[in-house]
Symmetry: C2
Subunit: 117 residues, 2 copies
Amino acid sequence: MKTIDAAPILASLAQPTRLDIFRALVVAGPAGLPAGALADALGVAPAALSFHLKELRFAQLVDSEQQGRYVIYRARFDTMNALLSFLTENCCAAASESSVNAACCPPAAQKKSRRAS
Amino acid sequence: MKTIDAAPILASLAQPTRLDIFRALVVAGPAGLPAGALADALGVAPAALSFHLKELRFAQLVDSEQQGRYVIYRARFDTMNALLSFLTENCCAAASESSVNAACCPPAAQKKSRRAS
DNA sequence: TTAATATTTCAATAACAATTGAAATATGAA
DNA sequence: TTCATATTTCAATTGTTATTGAAATATTAA
Protein backbone atom coordinates (compact mmCIF):
# COMPACT_ATOMS: atom_id res chain seq x y z
CA MET A 1 0.00 0.00 0.00
CA LYS A 2 1.07 3.56 -0.69
CA THR A 3 0.22 6.91 0.80
CA ILE A 4 -2.17 7.65 -2.00
CA ASP A 5 -4.10 4.44 -1.27
CA ALA A 6 -4.04 4.78 2.50
CA ALA A 7 -5.23 8.38 2.69
CA PRO A 8 -8.80 7.79 1.46
CA ILE A 9 -9.16 4.76 3.74
CA LEU A 10 -8.04 6.86 6.69
CA ALA A 11 -10.38 9.65 5.59
CA SER A 12 -13.29 7.29 5.60
CA LEU A 13 -12.48 6.26 9.18
CA ALA A 14 -11.86 9.84 10.26
CA GLN A 15 -15.48 10.67 10.86
CA PRO A 16 -17.01 9.73 14.20
CA THR A 17 -20.19 8.23 12.80
CA ARG A 18 -18.30 6.17 10.25
CA LEU A 19 -15.74 5.04 12.79
CA ASP A 20 -18.60 3.87 15.03
CA ILE A 21 -20.23 2.11 12.11
CA PHE A 22 -17.04 0.32 11.20
CA ARG A 23 -16.35 -0.70 14.77
CA ALA A 24 -19.87 -2.01 15.20
CA LEU A 25 -19.34 -4.12 12.08
CA VAL A 26 -16.00 -5.39 13.37
CA VAL A 27 -17.71 -6.46 16.60
CA ALA A 28 -20.55 -8.04 14.64
CA GLY A 29 -17.99 -10.15 12.80
CA PRO A 30 -18.67 -12.24 9.71
CA ALA A 31 -22.42 -12.21 10.31
CA GLY A 32 -22.51 -8.50 9.65
CA LEU A 33 -25.43 -6.21 10.40
CA PRO A 34 -28.35 -4.82 8.39
CA ALA A 35 -28.26 -1.09 7.74
CA GLY A 36 -31.29 -0.54 9.95
CA ALA A 37 -29.66 -2.17 12.96
CA LEU A 38 -26.75 0.23 12.57
CA ALA A 39 -29.13 3.17 12.27
CA ASP A 40 -30.90 2.12 15.48
CA ALA A 41 -27.74 1.30 17.40
CA LEU A 42 -26.04 4.57 16.52
CA GLY A 43 -29.01 6.89 16.21
CA VAL A 44 -28.21 8.02 12.68
CA ALA A 45 -30.78 9.23 10.16
CA PRO A 46 -31.32 6.83 7.25
CA ALA A 47 -30.02 9.21 4.60
CA ALA A 48 -26.93 10.01 6.65
CA LEU A 49 -26.29 6.36 7.34
CA SER A 50 -26.57 5.52 3.69
CA PHE A 51 -24.15 8.31 2.84
CA HIS A 52 -21.59 7.04 5.35
CA LEU A 53 -21.97 3.41 4.32
CA LYS A 54 -21.35 4.45 0.74
CA GLU A 55 -18.13 6.18 1.78
CA LEU A 56 -17.00 3.11 3.68
CA ARG A 57 -17.84 0.86 0.76
CA PHE A 58 -15.96 3.11 -1.62
CA ALA A 59 -12.95 2.89 0.69
CA GLN A 60 -13.39 -0.90 0.66
CA LEU A 61 -13.74 -0.98 4.41
CA VAL A 62 -17.15 -2.65 4.20
CA ASP A 63 -19.09 -4.66 1.73
CA SER A 64 -22.78 -5.28 1.45
CA GLU A 65 -25.14 -8.00 0.39
CA GLN A 66 -28.86 -7.76 -0.13
CA GLN A 67 -30.76 -10.30 1.97
CA GLY A 68 -34.45 -10.09 1.41
CA ARG A 69 -35.41 -6.55 2.14
CA TYR A 70 -32.41 -5.96 4.33
CA VAL A 71 -28.94 -5.00 3.20
CA ILE A 72 -26.30 -6.68 5.30
CA TYR A 73 -23.03 -4.85 5.81
CA ARG A 74 -19.76 -6.45 6.85
CA ALA A 75 -16.36 -5.10 7.84
CA ARG A 76 -13.58 -5.88 5.40
CA PHE A 77 -10.75 -7.19 7.53
CA ASP A 78 -8.47 -7.55 4.54
CA THR A 79 -8.52 -3.81 3.91
CA MET A 80 -8.15 -2.95 7.56
CA ASN A 81 -5.19 -5.29 7.92
CA ALA A 82 -3.51 -3.80 4.88
CA LEU A 83 -4.01 -0.34 6.34
CA LEU A 84 -2.57 -1.36 9.70
CA SER A 85 0.42 -2.94 8.00
CA PHE A 86 1.04 0.25 6.09
CA LEU A 87 0.78 2.36 9.24
CA THR A 88 3.21 0.17 11.14
CA GLU A 89 5.68 -0.32 8.29
CA ASN A 90 8.46 1.94 9.48
CA CYS A 91 7.31 2.32 12.99
CA CYS A 92 9.16 -0.45 14.75
CA ALA A 93 12.78 0.41 14.00
CA ALA A 94 12.23 4.02 14.95
CA ALA A 95 10.26 3.17 18.06
CA SER A 96 13.02 0.84 19.19
CA GLU A 97 15.57 3.60 18.98
CA SER A 98 13.53 5.63 21.39
CA SER A 99 13.18 2.64 23.70
CA VAL A 100 9.48 2.30 23.14
CA ASN A 101 8.30 -1.28 22.90
CA ALA A 102 5.72 -0.21 20.44
CA ALA A 103 2.34 -1.73 19.76
CA CYS A 104 3.36 -1.04 16.21
CA CYS A 105 6.17 -3.60 16.28
CA PRO A 106 5.36 -7.02 14.81
CA PRO A 107 5.78 -9.89 17.32
CA ALA A 108 9.17 -11.03 16.00
CA ALA A 109 10.64 -7.62 16.60
CA GLN A 110 9.43 -7.15 20.17
CA LYS A 111 12.40 -6.45 22.35
CA LYS A 112 13.20 -8.93 25.08
CA SER A 113 12.67 -6.13 27.49
CA ARG A 114 12.69 -5.94 31.21
CA ARG A 115 9.16 -6.96 32.08
CA ALA A 116 6.78 -4.12 32.85
CA SER A 117 6.22 -4.05 36.59
CA MET B 1 -9.23 6.10 23.67
CA LYS B 2 -12.70 6.74 22.31
CA THR B 3 -14.15 7.38 18.88
CA ILE B 4 -14.30 11.08 19.54
CA ASP B 5 -10.57 11.15 20.33
CA ALA B 6 -9.51 8.87 17.51
CA ALA B 7 -11.42 10.63 14.72
CA PRO B 8 -9.35 13.84 14.69
CA ILE B 9 -6.12 11.86 14.82
CA LEU B 10 -7.25 9.80 11.86
CA ALA B 11 -8.34 12.97 10.09
CA SER B 12 -4.93 14.46 10.49
CA LEU B 13 -3.36 11.36 8.90
CA ALA B 14 -5.99 11.23 6.17
CA GLN B 15 -4.29 13.75 3.95
CA PRO B 16 -1.52 12.56 1.63
CA THR B 17 0.91 15.35 2.42
CA ARG B 18 0.44 14.94 6.16
CA LEU B 19 0.69 11.18 5.96
CA ASP B 20 3.99 11.58 4.10
CA ILE B 21 5.21 14.10 6.66
CA PHE B 22 4.33 11.80 9.52
CA ARG B 23 5.95 8.80 7.89
CA ALA B 24 9.11 10.77 7.14
CA LEU B 25 9.24 11.70 10.82
CA VAL B 26 8.71 8.10 11.87
CA VAL B 27 11.61 7.05 9.67
CA ALA B 28 13.72 9.91 11.01
CA GLY B 29 13.15 8.56 14.50
CA PRO B 30 14.01 10.37 17.73
CA ALA B 31 16.35 12.79 15.97
CA GLY B 32 13.44 14.30 14.12
CA LEU B 33 13.70 16.65 11.14
CA PRO B 34 13.66 20.41 10.67
CA ALA B 35 10.63 21.80 8.86
CA GLY B 36 12.76 22.84 5.91
CA ALA B 37 14.08 19.32 5.37
CA LEU B 38 10.50 18.09 5.18
CA ALA B 39 9.61 20.85 2.75
CA ASP B 40 12.54 19.88 0.53
CA ALA B 41 12.00 16.15 0.79
CA LEU B 42 8.31 16.35 0.00
CA GLY B 43 8.20 19.39 -2.27
CA VAL B 44 5.65 21.27 -0.22
CA ALA B 45 5.33 25.08 -0.12
CA PRO B 46 6.38 26.59 3.21
CA ALA B 47 2.94 27.91 4.09
CA ALA B 48 1.30 24.61 3.24
CA LEU B 49 3.87 22.69 5.24
CA SER B 50 3.35 24.91 8.23
CA PHE B 51 -0.40 24.42 7.96
CA HIS B 52 -0.05 20.65 7.88
CA LEU B 53 2.47 20.53 10.71
CA LYS B 54 0.08 22.56 12.81
CA GLU B 55 -2.67 20.06 12.16
CA LEU B 56 -0.39 17.19 13.11
CA ARG B 57 0.71 18.97 16.24
CA PHE B 58 -2.88 19.69 17.21
CA ALA B 59 -3.63 15.99 16.79
CA GLN B 60 -0.60 15.26 18.97
CA LEU B 61 0.99 13.19 16.25
CA VAL B 62 4.11 15.35 16.24
CA ASP B 63 5.84 17.74 18.53
CA SER B 64 8.32 20.47 17.83
CA GLU B 65 11.32 22.06 19.40
CA GLN B 66 13.11 25.20 18.31
CA GLN B 67 16.81 24.59 17.73
CA GLY B 68 18.59 27.70 16.66
CA ARG B 69 16.81 28.97 13.66
CA TYR B 70 15.41 25.57 12.81
CA VAL B 71 12.30 23.99 14.22
CA ILE B 72 12.76 20.27 14.72
CA TYR B 73 9.69 18.08 14.39
CA ARG B 74 9.35 14.57 15.80
CA ALA B 75 6.74 11.85 15.47
CA ARG B 76 4.87 11.08 18.66
CA PHE B 77 4.94 7.32 18.96
CA ASP B 78 2.82 7.39 22.09
CA THR B 79 -0.12 8.87 20.22
CA MET B 80 0.32 6.57 17.25
CA ASN B 81 0.46 3.53 19.50
CA ALA B 82 -2.69 4.59 21.31
CA LEU B 83 -4.42 5.03 17.97
CA LEU B 84 -3.31 1.61 16.74
CA SER B 85 -4.49 0.01 19.96
CA PHE B 86 -7.86 1.63 19.56
CA LEU B 87 -8.15 0.47 15.96
CA THR B 88 -7.28 -3.11 16.83
CA GLU B 89 -9.34 -3.32 20.00
CA ASN B 90 -12.20 -5.47 18.77
CA CYS B 91 -10.57 -6.69 15.66
CA CYS B 92 -9.00 -9.92 16.77
CA ALA B 93 -11.99 -11.90 18.03
CA ALA B 94 -13.98 -11.04 14.94
CA ALA B 95 -11.12 -11.69 12.57
CA SER B 96 -10.59 -15.12 14.15
CA GLU B 97 -14.19 -16.05 13.52
CA SER B 98 -13.65 -15.42 9.86
CA SER B 99 -10.43 -17.48 9.94
CA VAL B 100 -8.24 -14.50 9.22
CA ASN B 101 -4.99 -14.52 11.12
CA ALA B 102 -5.16 -10.81 11.35
CA ALA B 103 -2.35 -8.33 11.59
CA CYS B 104 -4.69 -6.70 14.06
CA CYS B 105 -4.39 -9.56 16.55
CA PRO B 106 -1.93 -9.06 19.40
CA PRO B 107 0.83 -11.72 19.51
CA ALA B 108 -0.72 -13.81 22.29
CA ALA B 109 -3.88 -14.24 20.28
CA GLN B 110 -2.26 -15.36 17.02
CA LYS B 111 -3.73 -18.65 16.01
CA LYS B 112 -1.37 -21.62 15.77
CA SER B 113 -2.31 -21.84 12.14
CA ARG B 114 -1.14 -23.98 9.32
CA ARG B 115 1.98 -22.20 8.15
CA ALA B 116 1.60 -19.99 5.10
CA SER B 117 3.23 -21.74 2.14
C1' DT C 1 -52.59 -5.32 -6.41
C1' DT C 2 -52.08 -2.43 -2.43
C1' DA C 3 -49.78 -1.35 1.73
C1' DA C 4 -45.81 -1.53 4.76
C1' DT C 5 -40.89 -1.68 5.71
C1' DA C 6 -35.94 -1.02 4.38
C1' DT C 7 -32.73 1.47 2.01
C1' DT C 8 -30.93 4.73 -1.33
C1' DT C 9 -30.92 8.94 -4.05
C1' DC C 10 -31.47 13.79 -4.72
C1' DA C 11 -31.09 18.80 -4.09
C1' DA C 12 -30.14 22.39 -0.96
C1' DT C 13 -27.57 24.20 2.58
C1' DA C 14 -23.97 24.84 5.90
C1' DA C 15 -19.51 23.86 7.67
C1' DC C 16 -14.81 22.70 6.99
C1' DA C 17 -10.20 21.92 4.75
C1' DA C 18 -6.40 22.93 1.47
C1' DT C 19 -3.69 26.05 -1.42
C1' DT C 20 -1.79 30.43 -2.68
C1' DG C 21 1.08 34.57 -2.38
C1' DA C 22 2.40 38.12 0.52
C1' DA C 23 3.65 39.80 4.83
C1' DA C 24 5.28 39.07 9.56
C1' DT C 25 8.36 37.05 13.06
C1' DA C 26 12.55 34.89 14.79
C1' DT C 27 17.22 33.57 14.78
C1' DG C 28 21.98 33.69 13.37
C1' DA C 29 25.82 35.60 10.44
C1' DA C 30 28.38 39.44 8.46
C1' DT D 1 22.98 47.06 12.97
C1' DT D 2 21.91 45.07 8.60
C1' DC D 3 21.17 41.09 5.86
C1' DA D 4 19.93 36.35 4.96
C1' DT D 5 17.61 32.15 6.22
C1' DA D 6 13.81 29.52 8.49
C1' DT D 7 9.29 29.35 9.75
C1' DT D 8 4.67 31.01 10.73
C1' DT D 9 0.59 33.84 10.05
C1' DC D 10 -2.90 36.04 7.35
C1' DA D 11 -6.62 36.74 3.97
C1' DA D 12 -8.70 35.19 -0.11
C1' DT D 13 -10.21 31.61 -2.89
C1' DT D 14 -11.60 27.07 -4.05
C1' DG D 15 -13.09 22.65 -3.34
C1' DT D 16 -14.87 18.99 -0.37
C1' DT D 17 -17.84 16.87 3.20
C1' DA D 18 -21.90 16.31 6.29
C1' DT D 19 -26.77 16.97 7.29
C1' DT D 20 -31.56 17.58 6.18
C1' DG D 21 -36.15 16.42 4.46
C1' DA D 22 -38.49 14.66 0.67
C1' DA D 23 -38.93 11.56 -2.97
C1' DA D 24 -37.64 7.26 -5.25
C1' DT D 25 -36.67 2.24 -5.38
C1' DA D 26 -36.90 -2.49 -3.77
C1' DT D 27 -38.75 -6.24 -1.28
C1' DT D 28 -42.15 -8.59 1.42
C1' DA D 29 -46.79 -9.22 3.52
C1' DA D 30 -51.75 -8.76 3.32
